[in-house]
């Protein structure tokens, strides 16, 4: 009976230590480790479907973060160094006050340029609200001066005082009044997006933890048998970790793909001049939703590992 005399009696040095490093060994796998866990169970689809839903939501939250960020940037930087001066004087004084204003602007440090908008430009501005057949001559449309500021900007108080003296009907508007709450709203939206992403990640971790705990509890006899034949806790944990991480990764790939497809189908008609940035992903930003499955797998890996070792410690 050769079997019992050393049926599988290679030297002890042959006992391969499982590959070090959690994620590496997860990818490479421990030889046959995952086969010791039964292949089926309700936790399979629970994990896959939940991971898909979470990944889809994560892509949506990511899109919200990006669009809020782009919009806030547009409102902050696009309009930050511009101002408009309205000359609301009556017809007899309008030209004189316009020239006085332009002169004041020319001699004010911090003003890069200033120009009077043409009638055609003003008509184009009003057309979206009042229509193309605008009776421009009959309307009390003020003269508009577009002002571009340097990076340092002008001494706002000094400029206002000078305009008050030299062009009393000139109204200086640096857009601050309406821009500030919009920027604040966009920033808040961005924050909410980050919070949503964090909540999605936390919910994912909680779901995987619960599913893996259920699987570990259901497989308690199996764990007892594995321990009886000399399995180390890291071997047992790795079998479950690998199983749940791969399931979460599969679900996340499905969910993120659906999310990316949905955003790819969002119309792009808004364009760069729109008040609100295009909703979705642009260019290199598409790499971010593509990372959602990787992040999901990392969360599932960490959550299952913690849950598995805690359960194994409790069952000692």
């Amino acid at each position: 009976m050769s079997a019992s005399g050393g049926p599988a009696g290679p030297s002890r040095s042959e006992e391969a230590e499982p590959a070090a490093g959690g994620l590496l060994s997860l990818i490479v796998g421990t030889r046959g480790a995952d086969a010791v866990v039964p292949p089926s169970g309700y936790t399979v689809w629970l994990t896959v479907i939940s991971a898909a839903a979470m990944a889809f939501l994560a892509v949506c939250a990511l899109a919200a973060v990006l669009v809020a960020g782009r919009t806030a940037d547009r409102w902050t930087e696009g309009l930050a160094r511009t101002a408009t001066i309205r000359i609301e004087a009556d017809a007899t004084e309008r030209q004189a006050q316009t020239e006085a204003t332009l002169e004041a602007l020319r001699t004010t440090p911090g003003i890069a340029s200033a120009r009077v908008l043409s009638e055609a430009e003003q008509r184009a501005l009003l057309e979206p609200w009042l229509g193309p057949d605008l009776p421009f001559d009959l309307l009390p449309v003020p003269t508009l001066i577009e002002v571009a500021e340097t990076t340092a900007g002008p001494d706002r108080e000094g400029l206002l005082l000078r305009l008050a003296a030299e062009a009393p009907d000139a109204v200086f508007d640096d857009h601050q009044r309406w821009r500030a709450p919009l920027v604040a709203a966009a920033d808040r939206l961005r924050l909410i997006g980050w919070i949503a992403l964090a909540l999605v990640g936390s919910a994912m971790a909680a779901m995987v933890t619960l599913a893996s705990q259920a699987a570990l509890a259901a497989n308690r006899p199996l764990i007892g048998t594995l321990r009886l034949v000399g399995a180390r806790d890291v071997y047992i944990a790795r079998a479950f970790v690998r199983r749940f991480t791969l399931r979460a990764l599969l679900g996340a790939v499905i969910g993120a793909s659906l999310g990316m497809a949905a955003f790819a189908l969002v119309p792009r008609a808004l364009g760069d001049t729109a008040l609100v940035a295009t909703f979705g992903f642009d260019g290199a930003e598409w790499a971010l939703p593509a990372l959602v499955p990787v992040a999901t797998a990392a969360i599932a890996f960490a959550a299952t590992r913690v849950a598995a070792f805690a359960a194994l410690r409790r069952s000692e």
Binding site: P7, T225, L226, R232
Partner: protein, 228 residues
């Protein structure tokens, strides 16, 4: 060579109940011990202490000279790779075939199963399960399960085989067959510790091997290592 396992005045309590009290004995390499005693006398607890599923509440238990109390969980796992265990109600992984279950110790040790295919086939033939190798555990009879458990216990080439009432669920012919396998393993140098309350089994084995008996009664060891 030192003892495989040595108990030095070891006791085990479960709550306020004393299951084992001041037990002292040693298992030498190549020895064959029967552990007897009435039901509830602590046989299973003593076996669990031997493969470190439990640890003494008091006293010392040394495994290859190392104090069990100082062993970490990884040390215990490695130790169990050197001990084959057969239970009366042997448990298997029901989603794996008999062959895969028998190979399980090799798998958890990280060994390449392809390199041990011949040994595995020999072992499956030795326990008489060649025709059942691709069956699943729920399809096996009681005797077949015991033989599969014995094969699983020895596949890793252990130093010690611990069996808890391995013949409890099988008929006399199968019990004799199992005992012959254990005697053969003992002749190959394996230490055997077998718990049973079946004295006829002990008598039948005495003619084939040099066996010694440990008797437990009322949580205490009454005979430690005496010949039959």
């Amino acid at each position: 060579m030192g003892d495989l396992i040595a108990f030095e005045d070891a006791s085990f309590r479960y709550g306020t109940r004393e299951i084992l009290a001041n037990v002292t004995f040693a298992l030498a390499p190549g020895s064959f011990h029967f552990l007897t005693g009435p039901s509830g006398s602590g046989k299973t607890t003593l076996l669990k202490l031997c493969y470190l599923a439990l640890r003494p509440s008091a006293g010392r238990m040394l495994v290859r000279g190392r104090d069990a109390a100082e062993m970490a969980s990884d040390d215990i796992a490695r130790l169990r790779q050197r001990i084959g265990v057969v239970h009366q109600d042997c448990t298997f992984l029901d989603h794996l075939t008999v062959r895969e279950n028998i190979a399980l110790p090799l798998r958890v040790m990280g060994r390449r199963l392809e390199q041990h295919r011949g040994d595995l086939d020999d072992l499956i033939g030795w326990v008489g399960l060649r025709d059942r190798a691709e069956a699943y555990p729920p399809e096996l009879s009681g005797g077949e399960r015991q033989r599969a458990a014995l094969a699983r216990a020895v596949i890793g080439d252990p130093d010690l085989i611990i069996a808890d009432e391995p013949t409890g669920n099988v008929d006399w012919d199968m019990a004799e067959r199992l005992m012959r396998l254990l005697v053969e393993l003992n002749r190959l140098g394996k230490s055997i510790l077998l718990a049973t309350h079946d004295l006829s089994l002990i008598r039948a084995t005495k003619s084939q091997a040099s066996v010694r008996v440990l008797r437990l009664k009322d949580a205490r060891m009454q005979l430690a290592g005496a010949d039959l």
